[in-house]
């Protein structure tokens, strides 16, 4: 199962194999623990969504109060699943692209455990009512330095690998990885200091928390997803990236616009008025990098629709990139002054958040996981049906959530603005769309049951010991991942 062409040098294959072996334990740890966090986040999301249209649901336990479960849901999704998947992708991709084995797998594993214990402590604090109470940064203050410490221990080795890489070309994926690696600590240190350490106006603390939340997606999750897409699209199709200049433009436009976004969540609040407007303008202009990246990736794979149909990695990745373009269009439409009046205090923001974290990042991350895991476990995925179910239920689930939350949110916002109607009318209008969101989380829960089970079987090394990769169509004339036989020929995966 080589990723390039039949004439690949055997030394290069051995080097890649040794890199995979060196990273097997930390990468599988991050992927499997992330999948378990994703299951927790989805269950929390299901409860939180049900409580929006049936407030009496699970009202017997104070842990499941609406405010707590909503915060726990988003925190588990972002810090439990999102960060774990991103760490696994970052350390594997940077090692592969820098052509350097990982010599610190043990430290990364320990740091990964510290990260997960900190997230667990934070979520338990939220559920028991001991969260910070600051919207979008609900973990208590003691959790953040621990997360930062663990982050540094996990990712610093990737920065070292980049620095000592063999001289030569720096790949597009490496730009995004390097930028994401540095943007994350910048945002976390700044947000932690200004929200929890320095004394300041609480309103500005809320604004900084909103900036941090948006920054996490635009400057950490999105670069990781795009690095994966820029790696997988040329790798699986066997073609170079369509336009290097367009990739450069997409990268710098994201780097320029990303740090400005976030404050639009406080539109109308008594803070300096230019801040929400600058944030809204940045969110409108996110359409520019979305189109640049989307066109570049889609042009790279154009003419290879059969490969997209067959390869699980590419199918998930292309779906994620298409949803990134949808995110750009919706962000453009929903952050104008007139539309923000309708959407600011409605479900719309939640729909956009889920589109970003699950629709864009998670689909690209699933694509990367379907590509990476067979290489580090030396086993192939067991079932194409599991992958198919995971894909279709995920796409339908996220579509249901996003459409219901955004359309329902706009209708809810119209109800709020219509002063001739009682307030209850607005709530009634929104609750019917809440059912759609709950249904969407139900679909995603089933999808991730297949994914989680499949991944745990691979982790237990129960995958197929075959030289034929698991493709999504039974009859295929040509293997899109290159010639077969690499797995068995290179030897065992014991680290």
């Amino acid at each position: 199962m080589s990723e390039t062409n039949p004439t690949t040098d055997i030394n290069d294959i051995e080097l890649r194999s040794s890199i995979d072996r060196s990273l097997r334990h930390p990468v599988m740890f991050f992927f499997t623990s992330g999948a378990l966090w994703l299951a927790v986040a989805i269950v929390f999301g299901l409860i939180a969504s049900a409580k929006k249209h049936a407030p009496q649901f699970l009202d017997c336990c104070s842990w499941f109060e609406a405010g707590k479960i909503d915060a726990a849901h988003m925190s588990a999704l972002i810090y439990g699943w999102g960060c774990s998947a991103a760490f696994g992708i970052i350390i594997w991709l940077m090692s592969r692209l820098s052509r350097k084995e990982c010599t610190s797998a043990g430290i990364i594993l320990v740091a990964g455990h510290i990260w997960h214990f900190a997230v667990l402590a934070g979520i338990l604090c939220i559920l028991t009512g001991n969260g910070s109470g600051i919207a979008l940064m609900e973990f208590p203050s003691f959790v953040w330095p621990v997360l930062l410490f663990a982050y540094v221990l996990i990712t610093i080795w990737s920065l070292v690998q980049f620095q000592v890489r063999d001289a030569g070309h720096v790949y597009v994926s490496q730009w995004y990885l390097l930028a994401g690696l540095l943007w994350f600590p910048w945002m976390m240190v700044t947000a932690y200091l200004f929200v929890f350490t320095f004394d300041g106006n609480p309103l500005m603390a809320a604004g900084i928390a909103a900036w941090f939340k948006n920054g996490l997606f635009l400057l950490f999750f999105l670069p990781t997803a795009l690095a994966s897409a820029y790696y997988l699209a040329p790798k699986v199709t066997g073609r170079p990236v369509y336009s290097y200049n367009l990739a450069l433009f997409g990268f710098w436009s994201l780097a320029f616009l990303g740090p400005w976004a976030g404050m639009e969540r406080l539109m109308g609040a008594p803070i300096p008025q230019f801040l929400p407007y600058v944030g809204a303008a940045a969110m409108v202009l996110i359409l520019v990098p979305a189109l640049a990246v989307g066109v570049n990736i889609l042009k790279t794979i154009v003419g290879h629709s059969d490969v997209v149909e067959q390869s699980p990695s590419l199918r998930f990745t292309v779906s994620g990139i298409v949803l990134f373009m949808v995110f750009g269009v919706l962000s453009f439409a929903l952050h104008t002054v007139t539309s923000m009046k309708m959407t600011q205090f409605s479900y719309t923001g939640y729909g956009l958040d889920i589109l970003a974290i699950y629709g864009v990042f998670s689909l690209c991350a699933f694509g990367a996981i379907y590509f990476i895991v067979p290489r580090i476990t030396r086993r192939e995925w067991l079932s194409r049906r599991f992958i198919n179910w995971h894909f279709f239920l995920s796409v339908h689930g996220v579509a249901s959530i996003v459409i219901c939350a955004i359309v329902g949110g706009v209708i809810q916002g119209q109800g709020i603005e219509d002063l001739t109607q009682p307030f209850g009318t607005m709530a009634e209008r929104a609750s019917s769309y809440g059912w759609g969101v709950t249904l969407g989380w139900g679909l995603i829960l089933i999808a991730n049951f297949f994914f989680c089970l499949h991944l745990l079987l691979m982790w237990a090394r129960l995958g197929r010991r075959s030289s034929h990769p698991t493709l999504l169509q039974k009859h295929h004339s040509e293997n899109p991942h290159g010639p077969e036989g690499e797995i068995d020929n290179i030897g065992s995966a014991t680290a």
Binding site: R99, V152, V160, Q163, D166, L193, F198, G200
Partner: protein
């Protein structure tokens, strides 16, 4: 491929440069904040200044009118009188001992019939 870029010294340097880079973000915030965070007159602080002025004026007026020495002297003589007094049995007030008579409302006469009885 050039392999001379990878050596222990290079890795050591890269590690500490990365650590420094991360800590620089925090150090930058600590340094820049006092430079950018000027004096801000919040509504609370403005109101508190007016309240403190009134409070000081009241305290000053009280201090001027209050003769603490005379009060202490008076309290001492009053305490001496109370200490020297014999306890006596309390007497229930007359008004409280006998309940007040209940006033009965005056009986009003029945109103004159103004409409004819329909059964007649």
């Amino acid at each position: 491929m050039d392999h001379t870029r990878d050596n222990p010294l290079k890795r050591f340097n890269a590690f500490w440069v990365a650590i420094l880079l991360v800590t620089t973000f925090g150090i930058g915030c600590v340094i820049l904040r006092p430079l950018t965070h000027g004096k801000v007159d919040t509504a609370y602080e403005t109101a508190s200044a007016a309240r403190l002025a009134i409070k000081n004026e009241v305290l000053k007026a009280e201090a001027e009118t209050l003769n603490v020495e005379a009060l202490k002297k008076q309290m001492a003589s009053l305490a001496k009188t109370l200490n020297s007094g014999e306890p006596t049995q309390g007497v229930m007030p007359v008004a409280a001992a006998a309940p007040a008579p209940v006033e009965e409302p005056p009986v009003e006469e029945a109103p004159a019939e103004t409409t004819p009885d329909p059964t007649n």
